[in-house]
């Protein structure tokens, strides 16, 4: 079989792509493998063991950090998704919007600025106006930087949706609210879902801001992991990492499947 005349084929790209995926996944695989290692020293394999998982699951500090992270992430996701949805509707569907461009830039501002700058700026603000509650600080800051991540997929979806459908709904005697509930929202739902997933992910993942704002009682998961890493790598950390990697992969796959279903329905 000759592929000599396929002009779109560049030789060597297949193996290169293979190496690329090896590079993407090998580090994660290493963490997963060592998490089952009985030996205290990560690099030395002795035998298979689940002991680090049981110690991870019985680690109260870890569970507290997880609880803090989940609480912050859930609240920030709800807040940022609602704000982003309102903003996207106003920017894409509103007529005669004054400051449309400026408003869009403001919504996306957290993407344009380095996070560390925002983190220290927020730290100064909170210390000046005297907000002591660690949870409140985290939720406000997370809501802000999660908003553009929720906004972009919703905006894309809304922009891709033909105005005809909303007009057809009005033509068929639906009020604005009915149109929103029965036509607009179901059709942009995949965008809203992706936006919410992204916001959740970004909040759960955040280290820079949380590290600045965390106080004793409100350590988030990444901040806790950072402190574990700082105190020296341990197999228990590998077990924790493996559990989190697993959770991320499940979440990512679920998100992808929902998004794919949304696209197929509206083809």
């Amino acid at each position: 079989m000759s592929t000599g005349h396929d002009v779109k084929r560049y030789p060597g790209l297949g193996p290169l792509t293979g190496l690329f995926f090896l590079y993407l996944y090998a580090p994660l695989a290493v963490v997963v493998i060592y998490s089952f290692n009985a030996n205290r020293i990560a690099g030395v394999w002795t035998h298979f063991s689940l002991q680090w998982y049981s110690s991870a699951l019985n680690n109260a500090a870890l569970m507290n950090a997880l609880k803090t992270s989940l609480t912050v992430a859930v609240v920030a996701t709800v807040v940022s998704t609602l704000i982003a949805l309102a903003a996207a509707l106003a920017i894409i569907r509103g007529k005669d919007v004054r400051f449309r461009k400026l408003s869009e830039t403001v919504v996306n501002l957290p993407l344009l600025l380095p996070e560390i700058v925002l983190a220290v700026a927020t730290l100064i603000l909170f210390s000046l106006i005297g907000i002591q509650n660690g949870m409140a600080k985290l939720i406000i800051a997370h809501s802000a930087f999660c908003t553009p991540f929720a906004f972009l997929p919703i905006r894309a979806r809304l922009q891709g949706m033909s105005l005809d459908l909303e007009e057809a709904s009005a033509d068929l005697y639906a009020s604005r609210w009915t149109t929103f509930r029965r036509v607009t929202l179901p059709l942009i739902f995949p965008g809203v879902f992706s936006g919410a997933m992204l916001a959740f992910l970004i909040s759960m993942d955040d280290f820079i801001t949380s590290n600045m704002l965390s106080t004793g009682g409100t350590t988030t998961l990444p901040v806790y992991i950072f402190s574990l890493i700082r105190s020296g790598t341990s197999p228990e950390l590998n077990a924790i990492a493996t559990l989190l990697i697993l959770a991320s992969l499940i979440l990512a796959t679920a998100a992808l499947l929902v998004a794919a279903r949304g696209t197929r329905d509206n083809a």
């Binding site: 060592y34 990560a42 690099g43 106003a90 403001v106 925002l118 220290v120 908003t147 600045m212 992991i225």
Partner: protein, 309 residues
């Protein structure tokens, strides 16, 4: 406005639909403006002010105008108050640029061929490959950096592997710029592959055939057809990698160790252990200025290209 509503009831009645939408736009955007105003614009204004404030005796600051925060980037105040030039922080700024630039370049060199290869696969496999590219991005960034600590660290996988191959034991690849760079490339790679893939995917395949039809070989086609037409995606990817690279904190802190700082970790230090807020604020303002200048420059360039078309 008020005059109109008071005296021209007919005119406003006709515009009632439009006015509803205008109100909706207002109420729709209000929450965003409030949140961003409070949690973003106000803090940035405050940090700008703090960058020209005076350092307090025991951390914190006082509201006295002072450019010491900025001058400290270049000069060290001696015992007698004279300023002497120190390259220490300039080195950190230079390292920040070099590492961010190198990260962008390496990501680019990987991303273009890989994205091209993926775009050439049948649809079902393509979807799976794109999914596999995005997947690691869902894993927490700190864990992705941590994975490289396990591989490169003193008791890590790579030194062990090399020891088994006959190299001397106890080699460490940690706590240098190379380690930082490795982690940065790894964490930001998907941000490059995805936009590049999106623009290669949009490329009309018949253009490649047309180039070959007109006697262009693979190399000519790549240089004169594929790369120019995918430039917007490549630029988007470069921005997506370069900007967060400039502000990297985790990679230099964990991989570079205490000595090999970047601007991000330097800022963090001033608000953590260093306790020099005006200096930290001045570095933060510098970093923000650099990023904004870079973004405005690329935005203007692409705007000029648009008008030229």
């Amino acid at each position: 406005m008020t005059m109109d509503t008071l005296h021209l009831p007919f005119a406003t009645k006709r515009a009632s639909g439009a006015r509803f939408w205008r109100n909706l736009s207002f109420w729709g955007l209000l929450p965003s403006w409030l949140l961003m105003g409070f949690a973003l614009i106000l803090p940035i204004a405050i940090i700008a002010a703090v960058s020209v404030a005076t350092r307090g005796a025991h951390g914190g600051f006082t509201w006295d105008f002072n450019l010491a925060g900025y001058s400290q980037i270049l000069f060290n105040e001696g015992w007698t108050g004279e300023l002497e030039f120190t390259p220490q922080y300039l080195m950190i700024i230079a390292r920040t640029f070099l590492l961010a630039g190198a990260t962008t370049l390496i990501c680019l060199l990987f991303a273009v061929p890989v994205a091209y290869f993926i775009s050439r696969q049948p649809p079902s496999q393509k979807a799976i490959l794109v999914y596999l590219v995005t997947l690691p991005f869902w894993v927490s960034m700190i864990l992705r950096v941590y994975a490289w600590m396990i591989i490169l660290g003193k008791e890590g996988t790579l030194p062990r592997l090399l020891e088994n191959l006959g190299f001397p034991p106890g080699m460490s690849f940690m706590f240098n710029d190379g380690a930082t760079l490795t982690a940065m490339v790894y964490t930001y790679m998907p941000l490059m592959v995805l936009p590049v893939f999106a623009s290669i995917e949009k490329l009309d395949g018949t253009l490649i055939e047309a180039s070959h039809d007109l006697y262009g070989d693979r190399w000519v086609t790549l240089r004169r057809v594929i790369l120019p037409l995918t430039a917007p995606g490549i630029l988007a990817g470069a921005i997506l990698v370069f900007v967060p690279s400039l502000g990297a904190v985790l990679e230099p802190t964990l991989m570079g160790g205490g000595k090999q700082m970047m601007m991000g970790s330097l800022i963090q230090l001033q608000f953590g252990g260093g306790r020099n807020w005006p200096f930290g604020a001045a570095i933060a303002m510098t970093l923000m200025a650099v990023v904004l200048i870079f973004l405005i420059f690329t935005a203007l360039r692409s705007a000029r290209k648009e008008t030229a078309k």
